[in-house]
């Protein structure tokens, strides 16, 4: 058993970190978040050159064919850089949905352009009740057309196509399609823009009949948790650096246990989230029987502690932590958005409960 990264995994993580530090430093991230879309075509082509847009997809569609652990590492590093724009929406979310439910023709049509870097995409899921339980979805396609409204659709304005989750299947909608109206929702996270998307008799191509999206959504959910780990790590690094240099009462504030112990807790929370995320990545890759539970454990834990890590980071910075110019607040905003996306901690605890408590008769014996 080896729960450390392999050499090639270390290499991927390291090169991703260097790539984001070079191509998307804090100044660039801040420039992009102030734009309407947070999307930058030049940065996108560089992400493509790295192979990131096809990271987990089969080579026959132009992907790189790496595993879910590798995806977790990439998302951890992109989260650490607070990478703005539609990478998560396009690659992780739309890409995984296509990879798991589309037929080969549709994969060639929709997934291959994502891998090549020539298409941006997103998935429209939530409706007015904003419930992540897919049972509550009301929208339904009639005669190949969609009518209704989807909310909290990430990066919709730069998407070349949208995948729409409806009661009777998953549908692809072209961004220029008739009756499609995309308007911004002003979310807290400025690096990942949210939109309301209206459909009025909008032509939609059926990609899959059912809503068998559990696996794709589990990959997306674990990826969000991985991003949160990167964000927590960056918040911890910035905060510890500050605690070492900021002096009050003639001493670095990190010398005071009230401060130091909060930093220790940030470390414990970050490392524990990382363990949970890596395990989830491995379980997804191996199709382990506990993969879904592992994903919920990672998302549940990371959602809660990303908030507390942020709370502590801001508090330790004192007045500086409350300023616009401090990056910690930007990670804090992302953490809140990612906390609710794909189910918050409460949602995932109930999912864990349904898997652990409601089948306890079985696990009691195997424990």
């Amino acid at each position: 058993m080896q729960f450390g990264l392999s050499e090639s995994q270390e290499f991927l993580k390291d090169s991703a970190r260097k790539f984001f530090a070079g191509e998307c430093p804090s100044s660039e991230m801040r420039r992009l978040m102030e734009t309407d879309t947070a999307y930058d075509a030049v940065l996108w082509s560089k992400l493509t050159e790295q192979g990131y847009t096809g990271i987990i997809f089969p080579e026959e569609y132009g992907g790189v064919g790496l595993g879910k652990v590798e995806l977790m590492l990439l998302m951890e590093e992109s989260g650490r850089a607070l990478l703005p724009g539609p990478f998560f929406s396009t690659v992780v979310l739309a890409g995984s949905v296509l990879d798991s439910v589309a037929n080969p023709v549709h994969k060639m049509q929709y997934l291959a352009p994502i891998c090549r870097g020539s298409a941006r995409a997103t998935v429209a899921i939530l409706e007015a009740n904003a419930n992540w339980n897919l049972r509550d979805i009301q929208m339904s396609a009639t005669d190949g057309k969609l009518t209704g409204e989807k909310l909290f659709v990430s990066d919709a304005s730069v998407a070349d196509f949208l995948l729409v989750v409806a009661r009777n299947g998953v549908f692809a909608v072209h961004s220029k399609a008739h009756g499609l109206k995309i308007s911004p929702m002003l979310g807290m996270d400025l690096t990942r823009k949210l939109y309301a998307v209206e459909f009025h008799d909008t032509p939609a191509e059926k990609i899959a009949s059912g809503k068998e999206l559990t696996r794709a959504f589990d990959i997306a959910t674990a990826s969000l948790a991985a991003e949160l780990v990167g964000g927590m790590q960056r918040t911890l690094d910035i905060t510890v650096e500050y605690a070492k240099t900021r002096k009050q009462f003639g001493k670095p504030i990190g010398m005071f246990q009230a401060v130091q112990h909060q930093c220790a807790d940030m470390y414990l929370e970050t490392e524990s989230s990382r363990s949970a995320v890596y395990y989830a990545g491995w379980a997804l890759e191996e199709n382990a029987p506990d993969a879904a539970t592992a994903v919920s454990i990672a998302k549940m834990y990371a959602s809660d502690v990303a908030r507390t890590v942020g709370n502590r980071g801001i508090q330790i910075h004192g007045g500086m932590g409350f300023t616009w110019e401090n990056d910690v607040q930007l990670y804090y905003r992302r953490a809140k958005a990612s906390e609710t996306a794909f189910g918050d901690a409460t949602f995932h605890r109930e999912r864990i409960a349904s898997m652990v408590i409601d089948s306890a008769g079985v696990s009691a014996k195997s424990a």
Partner: protein, 395 residues
């Protein structure tokens, strides 16, 4: 990253499983609840049996009677022992902490003298570290040893000594140079607990039982050859023992906690609350799920730590994360147990209505000690702050 067991690990596990299947005692349940004074001969016999199969100290080097087991194999060992609900071994401190320290620091003569009897449970060991005025600040300890010819004369008091009542020998940390800086004047002595002047008293703890002892030393004569390591180098020797303490415990916790949560889920399904089983109460479900998740995360952290130690060869600060994590988790777990059991949660062993013969009321009280023993949570956070994050020393 590959979480499947390797061929070596599988072979180790299968050999152990087969051995346990035919050797683990079937009557442990009859002994489990008895006071340790009564069950101790039973535990000695079990350890001897394990050692006949060369399993008592799998982590030790082969030449000293172990199997040179890797960390992963050690983890497998404790998991398998927990899986079959094997009894503990009588000489757990000797095997887990003190034996490895003697192997690392002892002379050939000392190894020859002490190691075989640790393995056979013929001589039980205890640890004389903490003092009434030296807990977290262990290096401030005051028990003194003065050289008097070829003997040391030991005077002082130790506290929180596990197995003190049955100990034949003690790994005792003493001050041999009162003028040196506090870490530099310490020495470790191997002390025969039957020496004149040694007095052992039970220490009654908040659970009502006496797991620990107080030790008193009055002009106890200890041969100078019983120094472990070098004179005034006792801090390093003691720290090495403490490292074994933090490293060895984590592996067996996962299954212990898993057993707790599994039982709690059963109890939640049979306890009625507002006309339905507690397991259907959304709040109870949330809390149980949180606990079940954290128990898994504890295991993931442990596996990552083992892999890192295996790769780098050094036990790092992971031990401090684990210590904080499991001790605080156990306290939350017991609180949830209390919430599920309601009024019955408080009933102690001996009350006919006590759930699981008072296991939960006992555990609720006992877990308060978890965040104190083997390094308080505060000390662990100091360790992370200073040694991991590089923050200035706070004390």
């Amino acid at each position: 990253m590959d979480l499947n067991l390797t061929a070596d690990e599988l072979a180790f596990r299968d050999e152990l499983r087969a051995w346990l299947a035919s050797n683990v005692p079937k009557d442990w349940d009859e002994w489990r609840e008895k006071p340790m004074e009564e069950s101790f001969p039973y535990l000695r016999a079990w350890q001897r049996k394990l050692q006949e199969g060369r399993w008592a100290a799998a982590s030790w080097p082969k030449e000293y009677g172990g199997r040179s087991a890797t960390l992963m194999q050690q983890a497998i060992f404790w998991e398998e022992m927990a899986r079959v609900e094997a009894p503990p071994m009588a000489n757990s401190l000797g095997l887990g902490l003190i034996g490895p320290t003697i192997i690392a620091y002892g002379t050939e003569a000392q190894k020859k003298r002490y190691i075989p009897k640790i393995l056979s449970a013929e001589e039980i060991w205890c640890q004389g570290f903490s003092e009434p005025n030296a807990g977290s600040d262990l290096a401030g300890l005051q028990t003194e040893a003065r050289l008097d010819g070829d003997h040391y004369l030991v005077n002082g008091q130790k506290v929180w000594t596990s197995y003190g009542w049955v100990g034949d020998w003690c790994e005792l940390v003493v001050r041999t140079d009162a003028t040196a800086a506090k870490h530099k004047g310490l020495t470790v002595l191997l002390v025969d607990m039957r020496s004149p002047g040694v007095e052992v008293r039970p220490l009654r703890q908040m659970t009502g039982e006496s797991e620990f002892n107080e030790l008193f030393f009055r002009d106890v004569r200890v041969p100078a050859e019983n120094i472990l390591g070098k004179v005034n180098d006792g801090w390093n020797v003691a720290v090495s023992t403490l490292m074994y303490e933090r490293g060895s415990y984590g592996a067996r916790l996962h299954l212990i906690f898993k057993r707790y949560i599994t039982r709690l889920i059963e109890l939640a399904r049979t306890t009625q609350r507002d006309g339905r089983p507690a397991s259907e109460d959304p709040i109870i479900r949330q809390k149980l799920a949180q606990c079940a998740a954290e128990i898994e995360i504890m295991r993931f952290n442990q596996m990552r730590a083992f892999s890192r130690i295996t790769a780098t060869g050094v036990p790092g600060p992971e031990g401090s994360i684990q210590k904080i994590f499991w001790s605080e988790l156990n306290q939350r777990l017991q609180q949830i147990a209390q919430e599920i059991l309601g009024s019955f949660g408080q009933l102690m062993a001996g009350d006919a209505r006590a759930i699981d013969n008072g296991l939960w009321s006992y555990a609720y009280l006992r877990t308060r000690g978890n965040t104190i023993e083997a390094g308080t949570s505060e000390v662990q956070r100091n360790i992370i702050g200073h040694f991991v994050l590089g923050l200035p020393r706070s004390y």
